[in-house]
């Protein structure tokens, strides 16, 4: 679950990291009032920052500097309600519902620092670079030697000597080095305490008088840990997510919208991906990823069917169930029952394999509903792709 900049900064501020003063605004008037407060407190300029989860906001016009409160209101008014397109969004962009109005900082030096999971070392890692403000993936491509890493040992976490070493390796000294080291340690503690999968400050600013400020911040929280962070779960902003993906999540189904025409429903994530790949090998393209789970109960199949049929381009459906512990005859009955509750006006290919597969196929053949029954995954994919192109022509 991604958090907005203003949410991430509030979490850092609570943990003693210095962040610029700022206020959230949902209208131009609120933005003007926020800017007036910041100017009154001594800011020379204020930043108006679109609060979206996607990165690359600056390049997409989502960050503007204003010299007057009226100017801040004007920028905010233009951003709010618009779709912001950045290098990390699709061409449709993402909606801007709030902006963050923030005081400026006296920037002498910009650094990059983040904590993330190093999957191959199986522990968290601090990633830092002296090239702050830049996209870290870009730095990794163009200047990989500029990236400094410190791993957090399991059970021990990040130790003070590591952050001190990191600060010196970033070329800092004196007060700035001490401040940066302390900030990185606080960021690491926040990463751990909040069960983050990413905690990023980019840029981490060293000011002219060697203070250390988090000018931007981003947290991504491990969904599997939200059960123990009720306060964080409340920060969820679903406005940038696909409505169908949200609906699926409410039913504990895993769904991802894609842009092909063959809707698919599969039990198990790996087999669901494999089924998508097989559809592509057969000359078509999947309309979605959908894992109904290992059990594939009637209720789950019905919910899954309803959601996948909402995909606008679906012109055929492929149901692929490998019956292990769950018996295919029960799945077949579930599919028939589920299809009785959903309007289906495209061909449906069903492939059952595993426990009681033949009994399951027989139940489907004898039902009033018209299924195309397949035995192998390849046959199923070919039938579904043919059916989808037949529908498209008709």
């Amino acid at each position: 679950m991604k958090l907005h900049e203003y949410q991430s900064k509030a979490l850092l501020r609570e943990r003693g990291v210095t962040v610029p003063d700022g206020h959230v605004a949902a209208s131009a008037d609120e933005a003007r009032a926020a800017a007036e407060k910041l100017f009154a407190a001594g800011s020379a300029r204020v930043a108006v920052k679109a609060q979206v989860h996607a990165g690359g906001r600056g390049k997409g016009g989502g960050i503007k500097l204003a010299s007057t409160a009226d100017e801040a209101a004007e920028f905010a008014g233009a951003m709010l309600g618009s779709q912001l397109v950045t290098p990390q969004t699709g061409t449709e962009g993402v909606p801007v519902n709030t902006v963050y109005i923030e005081g400026g900082a006296d920037i002498a030096n910009e650094l990059y620092v983040a904590l993330t999971l190093d999957r191959s070392s199986r522990c968290p890692v601090v990633i830092a670079s002296a090239e702050g403000g830049m996209d870290i993936e870009e730095v990794a491509e163009t200047n990989p030697d500029a990236i400094i890493r410190e791993h957090c040992a399991p059970g021990w976490g990040l130790r003070p000597f590591q952050v001190t070493r990191l600060a010196y390796n970033l070329g800092l000294s004196g007060k700035a080095a001490r401040g940066a080291a302390a900030t990185i340690l606080k960021l690491a503690n926040a990463y751990r305490d909040l069960d983050a999968s990413l905690a990023e400050i980019n840029p981490l600013v060293i000011t002219g008088d060697d203070n250390v400020i988090a000018l931007d911040a981003k947290f991504d929280i491990d969904d599997n840990a939200l059960y123990r962070h009720a306060d964080l779960a409340e920060l969820h902003d679903p406005s940038e997510e696909e409505p169908l993906e949200l609906e699926a999540a409410e039913h504990s189904l895993s769904y991802v919208a894609l842009d092909g025409t063959v809707g698919c429903m599969v039990n198990g994530a790996g087999l669901a991906m494999g089924t998508m790949d097989e559809i592509s090998n057969a000359g078509g393209f999947p309309a979605n990823f959908l894992d109904v789970g290992g059990g594939a109960s009637v209720e789950r199949v019905a919910n899954a069917f309803r959601i996948l049929m909402k995909g606008e381009r679906v012109s055929a459906v492929l149901i692929n169930i490998f019956g292990g512990i769950v018996r295919c005859d029960r799945v077949a009955k579930g599919v028939i029952e589920a299809l009785g509750t959903v309007e289906v006006n495209v061909p449906v290919v069903v492939r059952l394999q595993g426990t009681n597969a033949e009994e399951g196929r027989e139940i489907l053949r004898q039902s009033d509903l018209e299924f195309l029954v397949a035995e192998t995954l390849r046959e199923a994919a070919e039938k579904a792709v043919n059916a989808a192109s037949g529908q498209a022509e008709a």
Binding site: R119, G155, D195, N224, G270, D277, F289, G324
Partner: protein
């Protein structure tokens, strides 16, 4: 021959009185696995199915029964602690089926297990089966057949699909391991490849990977260095979009890294037989073994 588990394995089931645990413990027993103990705190002294004693703690169960493998069906908030309890009690192999364990919990758990010499498989995995000898997991036993091909996979049903294809073309399996779909797992593709290389009962390895992480690339680097067995590989998620989690917590192309194309390229370069379609796994193994 086999790796990790065989007919001598003495299995204990953590969470044996829960709905998942009891169902699958029964299935494992029916398959012929030697389930010697169950653990559920507060239920010590009971008997499961009139034959398996239940204990309050893993330590007690190990002392009383000599269990050396633990199969864990404990809900996500308690799963990390359950694995650590197994490791602390000296269990040789802990297999964690639970899906939904926070990733940072697993960081400490993997460190804890490594320090105690306990191998962890999973979490979020179907478990391990040595056909004809021992099933320690939730996979359907009947699709498997005794034989000489090892199977390693990050997924559940896709593994059953691949195994079913093998069995249908007459190829049996030595051991099949579901290593799990989470970002932090105890045992990797590479770890399993190492063990299969030492196993006299394994002639070839089927490796099923998926998008996300770099476990397949690390496996590729390992097999490139004179790996003694043929490896047949499939990577799921060739059509998956970047930045989207595909069901498994670990199946995500992040920052352009972890694509199926990269993994297939690395494995091909390492000398593995990479198939593009999941339907071709069985036929490809047959072809490779026939050479």
């Amino acid at each position: 021959m086999s790796i990790f588990v065989d007919s001598d394995s003495r299995i204990l089931v953590q969470g044996i009185t829960g709905s998942e645990g009891s169902f699958h413990a029964r299935q494992c027993i029916e398959y012929g696995s030697n389930v010697v103990a169950g653990v559920t705190p507060g239920k010590g002294g009971q008997m499961f199915e009139d034959t398996v004693p239940v204990f309050n703690t893993v330590a007690e169960a190990v002392t009383a029964t000599g269990a050396d493998v633990s199969l864990i069906f404990v809900p996500p908030p308690f799963a990390a602690d359950a694995v650590m309890e197994a490791a602390d009690a000296g269990v040789r192999l802990a297999i964690c089926i639970t899906e939904g364990v926070p990733a940072l919990d697993m960081v400490d758990v993997v460190g804890y297990c490594n320090a105690r010499g306990t191998r962890l498989i999973g979490p979020n995995c179907p478990g391990v089966i040595t056909p004809g000898q021992c099933k320690v997991g939730i996979m359907p036993g009947f699709v498997h057949k005794e034989g000489r091909v090892g199977v390693i996979s990050r997924s559940g049903t896709l593994t059953y699909e691949a195994v079913d294809q093998l069995t249908r073309v007459g190829i049996g399996q030595s051991t099949c391991i579901g290593i799990g779909g989470d970002p932090v797992i105890g045992t990797t593709h590479r770890d399993c490849l190492e063990r299969f290389a030492e196993d006299e009962g394994t002639d070839a390895v089927v490796m099923i990977g998926e998008i996300g992480g770099s476990g397949e690339e690390e496996a590729a680097a390992y097999i490139a260095d004179d790996y003694p067995l043929p490896v047949i590989a499939f990577i799921a998620g060739q059509t998956a979009p970047p930045g989207k989690r595909m069901g498994h917590a670990g199946a995500i192309i992040a920052g352009g890294k972890g694509t199926a194309a990269e993994k297939m390229k690395a494995l091909t370069a390492a000398g593995a037989h990479v198939v593009e379609s999941p339907s071709e796994i069985g036929a490809k193994v047959l072809e490779v073994l026939g050479d």
